[in-house]
């Protein structure tokens, strides 16, 4: 080469660039965190919110997270975003309702949350005012702060096995899979003893399957390749295709991950404690 840069160095440089892009790229993290599904109503402008969630605790409407200055988050700072996403705290110090999955997102690194914010700021702004939630008479926002204190005190630890840490981060922090696949106990708190063991009372009235490696009740009979192909395409091992909210997750998130990250998820899921029943 005329300028004397050995090709091996160039290759290494690009490899390093690709490595950091996979770790810190806001767009990639945005997909991995699955923001789009909940923050877009059917047929509505992307990320402008307004999707309705009927729950045992009332009907909630997702907010606008486009950079619109009045109705979206255009005036926010990265710090405010981190407070919202990781701590469930609003600008005025009050709490977000936990329909916003901050019990999962609190496991995100500040850098990753900040990268997602930076990416959101590059997207088109849509003007769409947020809708008030329809809460039952017995529920008020002030009750959420003590609730947070109660359930947010002990975040789950990452696995010790370094081989499992990326999969754990994708499943528990970014993908927030347990928000639907783990059942809830009293007051809507995730039942850690039934981690990923399926949820008879999932979002939109759906029954959400057990995704632990139990051979009968879970996905223990699926091969690693079956699982990776499912995350890529939505195809079930019997030729059927997933639907409902999981089809959205495949479209918005798992099909957009790298092959390595899908493999990390599969490796992690196949190693969680198997649970019978659904």
């Amino acid at each position: 080469m005329r300028h004397g840069v050995p090709p091996a160095w160039v290759a290494l440089w690009f490899a390093l660039l690709a490595g950091t892009a996979a770790a810190g790229d806001g767009e990639y993290l945005f997909h991995a965190a699955g923001c789009a599904g909940c923050h877009t109503r059917d047929g509505g402008p992307a990320l402008a919110g307004g999707r309705r969630f009927d729950t045992a605790f009332g009907a909630f409407y997702s907010p606008n997270i486009t950079p619109d200055r009045e109705t979206g988050i255009g005036e926010w700072t990265a710090q405010r975003f981190i407070h919202a996403v990781k701590h469930g705290t609003r600008d005025d110090g009050s709490a977000y309702f936990p329909v916003f999955p901050y019990p999962s997102y609190r496991l995100l690194s500040d850098d990753d949350a900040s990268a997602i914010f930076d990416y959101l700021m590059t997207l088109p702004a849509h003007r769409q005012a947020n809708r008030e939630h329809d809460l039952p008479w017995w529920l008020a926002r002030w009750m959420i702060a003590p609730w947070q204190w109660w359930i947010m005190e002990a975040p789950p630890e990452p696995p010790r096995d370094t081989e499992q840490q990326r999969g754990w981060y994708l499943v528990d922090a970014l993908g927030h899979c347990g928000e639907c696949h783990t059942p809830r106990k009293f007051a809507g708190v995730s039942d850690r003893s039934r981690y990923l063991g399926g949820n008879a009372d999932g979002p939109e009235g759906d029954k959400v399957p057990n995704i632990t490696p139990d051979r009968k009740a879970g996905i223990g009979k699926w091969s690693a390749d079956d699982l990776a192909y499912f995350l890529e395409t939505g195809a079930l091992p019997d030729g059927d295709y997933t639907g409902s909210t999981m089809a959205e997750v495949v479209d918005n998130t798992t099909s957009k991950l790298t092959r390595d990250d899908r493999a990390a998820i599969v490796r992690y899921l196949r190693a969680v404690p198997p649970l019978p029943g659904d």
Binding site: D238, G239, S244
Partner: protein, 147 residues
């Protein structure tokens, strides 16, 4: 009660009963057809992904998929929306949107058949992926999840 009235009533009861049974039978038929589609799709996936290579089988599966999917809109007659079905009411409430979804499945399977007849491996893989997208796309909006 006059005998004629009795006969009419019995006939009516019989007819209504028959109509109900009809719809439930239709749900069973629909589910069997869907399983047939899944069977051919699952088999195609094994071949397209290079796991198995049974001579000539892919063309059979592609033909079956194209034919079965052309029948899709007829599998959801009005009245077959109750009982043991995962079909969402949206099928009958939003007929235009549902027609779009079934048309996508018909077109994708027809294109898959075309690709298999053409023989180009990359085109076959791409068309197969599109069929999967159509399946998933329709299930996303129109099938209740309970498994």
């Amino acid at each position: 009660m006059k005998p004629t009235a009795l006969v009419t009533l019995t006939a009516l009861a019989f007819l209504t009963g028959a109509a109900v049974a009809d719809d439930e039978d239709y749900i069973k038929y629909r589910q069997a057809m869907m399983k047939a589609i899944a069977g051919h799709m699952g088999a195609s996936t094994q071949i397209v992904r290079g796991k198995v290579a049974p001579e000539g089988d892919l063309l059979m599966h592609a033909r079956a998929l194209a034919e079965l999917n052309a029948h899709l809109p007829r599998l959801f007659p009005a009245g077959s929306d109750f009982g043991e079905t995962k079909a969402k009411p949206a099928i009958w409430d939003e007929p235009a949107k549902f027609e779009q979804a079934t048309t996508a499945a018909r077109d994708a399977t027809a294109a898959f058949l075309g690709a298999v007849e053409g023989g180009d491996a990359a085109a076959i893989a791409a068309a197969h992926k599109d069929v999967g997208q159509a399946c998933k796309g329709c299930h996303e909006d129109f099938r209740q999840k309970d498994d």
